[in-house]
Structure formats: C-alpha cells, structure tokens
C-alpha cells in the first residue's frame, strides 16, 4: 500500500510529466487536479474533434467537450479496465453529444438499401482530402445521415448499438448509413471534379 501511495504521489507531482493511463485514472479517482488536467490535455484534442462531428446548432463542440469531461471525471471510478481507456472516454463523449440532441424519429427515415458502389476514384479522392476537408464533407450531410455515418464508420459502433443509442431500429440505422454513403459519394464526385 505504501508503495502504491508513493507511486501515486510521484505520479501526480507535476502534470508536465508523461502519464500512463493507469496513473491518470488513479490520480483522477483521488480527485487530483494535476492528473485531471493531464488527462484533459492528453485527450481533449481528439475528443474535440469527436464533438465537432456531432455538434448541433444548439450546442457548440466546446460545450459538449466540457460537459463530457465533467462526466468523465465524475464517473472515472466506474471504469473497469476491461477495454481501452480512450475508447471509454470516447464513448462518454459520444453519448454526451448524442444526448444533447435527440433527433425525432422522422429524421431517420428508412430508405432502400442499395449497395453503394464506390470506385477507386472516390477512394483516391479521400486520400487527397485533408482531415479538415473530409470532416467538412461529412458535416455537410443531413444530421440523421451524419450521425449514423460517424457512429458506424469512425466510432466503429455496430448497427445494433447505433439503434440502441438513437432509439431507432436496426433497419433504420442501416438505411441511414446507406443514404449517408450515397450522399457522400456524390460529394466526393464533386470534389473529384474540383481536384481535376
């Protein structure tokens, strides 16, 4: 116990030090401000990008990030070490973002799922696009499409999980994703023309 305490003390002397996730978790559970700040600085950039993908007109990304981190610090003691810590943080941020706007079910109208055909030209267009441009492209999608697309493609949720999160059924999630891909394909084609 003494060894653990010394380790914890040493780990929290300064937040300029590079912490391991384990050290950060212990420090944050102990409500240590340095560790909390270190955790924030380590993940805030990535999580702000996550928030940007889900931000709505009502809630800017910074507010979502702020709310999400407060939730993280308050519930960090419930982290089970059963998966990646970053994944756990991301899940909380995504949940926070989604809870800030619950789209009515009408936003997730189902459409025919025809397999979207993406060719090599579109794939190369993605390569050429910067992250920011790609985000702008996705952001230009309608809210329903965008949300499902982000959750499925970037966060790696399954359609069943998306359906649970958004309170829609799985089929709706699939159709939304299909529509999102179609729309994105169109936009990529346009950008390809621009590149050409």
């Amino acid at each position: 116990m003494l060894k653990k305490s010394i380790l914890l003390l040493n780990s929290c002397v300064s937040y300029s030090k590079v912490y391991t996730d384990e050290e950060l978790i212990k420090g944050c559970i102990a409500n240590d401000r340095h560790c909390q700040r270190a955790l924030f600085e380590k993940y805030a950039g990535k999580m702000l990008a996550v928030c940007r993908r889900y931000e709505s007109n009502h809630t800017p990304a910074e507010d979502l990030l702020q709310e999400g981190f407060i939730k993280i610090f308050k519930s960090i003691s419930t982290f089970r070490n059963q998966g990646a810590f970053e994944g756990w943080i991301r899940r909380i941020i995504v949940n926070t973002a989604l809870s800030s706007f619950r789209l009515p079910t009408a936003h997730y109208n189902q459409v025919d799922i025809s397999e979207v055909k993406l060719n090599n030209a579109e794939a190369s267009a993605i390569d050429r696009l910067s992250e920011k441009d790609l985000l702008q492209l996705i952001d230009s999608l309608p809210d329903g499409y965008k949300t499902v697309f982000n959750l499925y493609v970037i966060e790696g949720y399954s359609h069943k999980e998306i359906a649970d999160l958004l309170k829609i059924n799985e089929g709706t999630s699939r159709s939304q994703f299909s529509k999102a891909k179609n729309a994105l394909q169109e936009k990529l084609k346009q950008s390809e023309i621009t590149f050409a």
Binding site: M1, L2, S5, A30, N31, D32, R33, Q36, R37, F40, E41, A44, G45, K46, L48, A49, R52, R53, E62, L65, Q66, F69, I70, F73, K74, S75, S77, T78, R80, Q110, D112, I113, E115, V116, K117, L118, N119, N120, E122, A123, I126, D127, E131, L134, L135, I138, Y152, V153, I154, G156, A163, D164, K167, N169, E170, G171, T172, R174, S175, K181
Partner: protein, 498 residues
Amino acid sequence: MKEESDNLENKIRSKLYSYSEKVPDDLWSKIETKLPAPENGFDLIRSKLTWFALADVMVMLLLVLPFCNTSKISPLSPAMSTTQTISNDSSSLGTESSFKQPITSNTNSVNKPIVTMNEGAKEPMHDIAKSTKNQVTSQSSIIPVTTTKSKSIIESSVSAPEILLSSTVTLNSTKPEEPVLSAPLSNATSIKLPSVDSSLNTSASTVNTKQTQTNESVADTVQPLPTVDTNKIKKADNMLLATVAQLPIEKSKSPKLRIEAMLGPDYYFFKNRDNTVPGFSARMDSSTTNQRAISAELLLSYYFTKRVYLKGGLSWSTLSRKYSLVHEQEIKEIYIDSVSNFYSLQDPFNLPLVIKNYDTLITISNTTNQVSSNMQYTLLDIPILAGYDFLLTKVRLGMYTGIRINCLFTKKGTEINPKNYTELDAEMSRTNYKKQLGIGYMIGINAAYEITKNLALTISPYYQTYPTSVFSSEYGLTQNWTKCGIHAGVAYFIKSKK
C-alpha cells in the same frame, strides 16, 4: 464490391479516428470550476499514509523520551539552579551590607561546587581569590561590581586568568542563631537548611573576587579590603555541601494504574470503495445524513514510568445513519413496437432483420433514481494503546496511539443492493461475524485535570480508522470508515506506595 466499400470506410476511419483539434486555452479553467474541490489539507491529514507516519513518530517518541527525562536532579548538584542566593549574617561587615546579591553562574557549571562560579577555571572561587591576589571588599557599595561591562566579560567565555569573577556571595542573616540558607535547587524544590555553623558569622563577608586586567575602570572603583581567611570560607562551603547532600528531595508519587470511564459523540467519514456497477449503470452521487453516533469506553492504563503507559479496555459504540445513493440506470425493455414493425416491413431489404428481431425490439431508457438505506450498527472495540503524558501542575496532557480490534456486533435496517440499486433487508447473521472483524488504528490526545490526588476529569479527542475494511459486505457496496470524536469522563489513579 463489399471489400472496396470496407476499404473506403477504413480509410475514412483511419484518417479521422485520431484526428485532433486545437483546444481553446480557457476550456480547462471552465471545467475546473465545475469539478469537485480537490483534496484540501484536512483530506491530506486524513490520508492513511500521513497517519501511519504520525503513529510511527509517536512510537519513536515513546521509545526515546523516557531517556530524555531531565527532571531528575542529583541532590549533590544543587548548583544546577542558575541563580542562587545565600544569606547569612553580615553585621560584622558593616551596616550597609544587608542586601542579597545573586550568584550568577553559567549553566555549564552544573555539578560544580556551589561557590565555583567561574566558567573556565577549575578552582573554586576562593582559590582563585587566593592565588590571584584578588580583592575582597566589605563595603556593600562595592558589590554591584557586576556591571554590565563585567558581565559581558563573563558571557564572552574568556580564559580563566582573564575572568572577572563578579559572582558575589553574600552571607546574610537577620537571626544569627538560626541562619537560613535559601537555595532554589530546581524548578519545584526549595530547601531550607536547619542550621549553619556560626563561624560563618564571623567569616561572612561580601566576597567580590575579580581578576581583571582589561577592565580598569571597574577596578578603580573597588576599594581594597582586609584579607579574609579563606580557610573559613572553604570550611563553610564544605559544610553547606554536606548539608545539602543530606536533604531529601521530595518526589511526587507516580501513578501505577489508571481506570477511565468515558463517553462521547463520534462523527464518521465514509469513503466509497470499488463498487460494482453492472451494465451501463453508474453511481452518480452518494451521501450520508442524519448521522447519530455515540460511544462509551472503559479503559485501564498501566504506567511503566511516571509518564509512559499502556492502555487497554473495551469500547462500545453505536451508529445510526441514512445513506442515499443517486444513480443513473439504463433500463432495458423488451416490447413490440407496431409502428416500427410497420416501417420495417415496408422495407424489403430489412425484412430478414425484422423477422429476426420481431420479438426483441429493444429500447433503452435512462433514468436517474435515488435509493436510501437506514442502518443502525453496534460496534465493539478492544483498544490496545501506548501513551505518553506531559506533566503539568494539575494536568496530565498526553498523546496516545495504537491499534483497535474492531467487531461489528449488530447491524439492522435496510441496505442498498448495488446489483440492482434496490433496498435490501439487512440483518446480520452469525456467519457474518468473522467477516466483520478488523484491525484499525487510532491516535488521540488526552487531558486529565486532577481534582483530588486520585481522581481526575478527562477529555480526549481522537481519530480512528480501519485500514482493513470491517464493512466489506457481500453486496459489493464497500466503504472505508473513519471516525473522529471527543470523549469525556473520569479517571481514577491508583498510585504506587513509595
């Protein structure tokens, strides 16, 4: 085609998953204001590490302090007192010499004969007087030769030949038949000599011995006196020492046992440990209110020395508390949504899916609930403590530390089951007794005010904790308990006969 699509998705994912944006500088400060306050000094004090360290220091002090007891004074060394006054008749020396002059001795002169006042020299004062042609004055006006200047010479620890021996022995007594020697020997001891040889009367004089080559101004003021018979002074010195050596030094009786009965309120601190949080449920907040706790103790202390003791006994305490838990719970429900099914059925591509999930359409609702428990605990402790007392005039001020073997004796009420956050009837069974045993440690201070020789009123604030949790229940809701309190009561001292 599917592979191509997956490839594209992977490309987008790899590009955006780790994408990071610049965070505004003021965002952390905004978050910080909404976070619970960080651990303050009190929390730091409460940390186990600190208290273990303090307990260690206490134990070390207990081991070391008995050997540092400076109150024992050898009766042969009355000169430990820094200022002494010896009075005797000075009538033969003149009418003006009836005041007392303190002998100023350096503290380094411990264990030296009473008249040896010079710091560096080994010889007694009168030897120096003899060997260095010192001047002995009989005029009282000369006595304040201990001028500021000459004092400074002594304090500067000059070598023996250069010492201005300004110490003055005034033997003065208003009753020649019964001269009184008043010599404060220690802080609390005053000795009255029964009688001193009357030859002192004849030889008594104000001795002002000095040897100075540097302080001519002082020397000029000293008038030469007839030489005093130093043998007589020497003889008087020896008699004084012999008499003082035979004096009994009063020792206060040290207590052997101390029986204490104490009662007082307690305040408990509860720290939640690792709680099982199944599924997505998360504990949001918890609090304890309506805490009522009191304890009573019967303690027996055994004194190894006047100050060091070992304490043991029995402590009974009771605690009632209301514990509230606010939690967020995601309730999964299984239902058939006809509207969803309708939409799903319209989608020919989702038809297999609809059939698959026809009976298991799942929705999740987030709810924030609050449950509370009202529990009453009874605890029995066996403290084993070591303590050290500081002795004041009528007060014993002590510190103690040690372990407490704790047993949760009874438990009644409703407890929260964290598996589903419902209230659970809790009644301790015999099988739980063993689990509830634990060893804690405590530290406290104790003040005892003696109202009679054997009886004292005591008050004792203390802090107690349980490094081994005694409340690790099978329900998974585990807490570390610490408590502080203040007890008051009476103590009875059984003192040794010597």
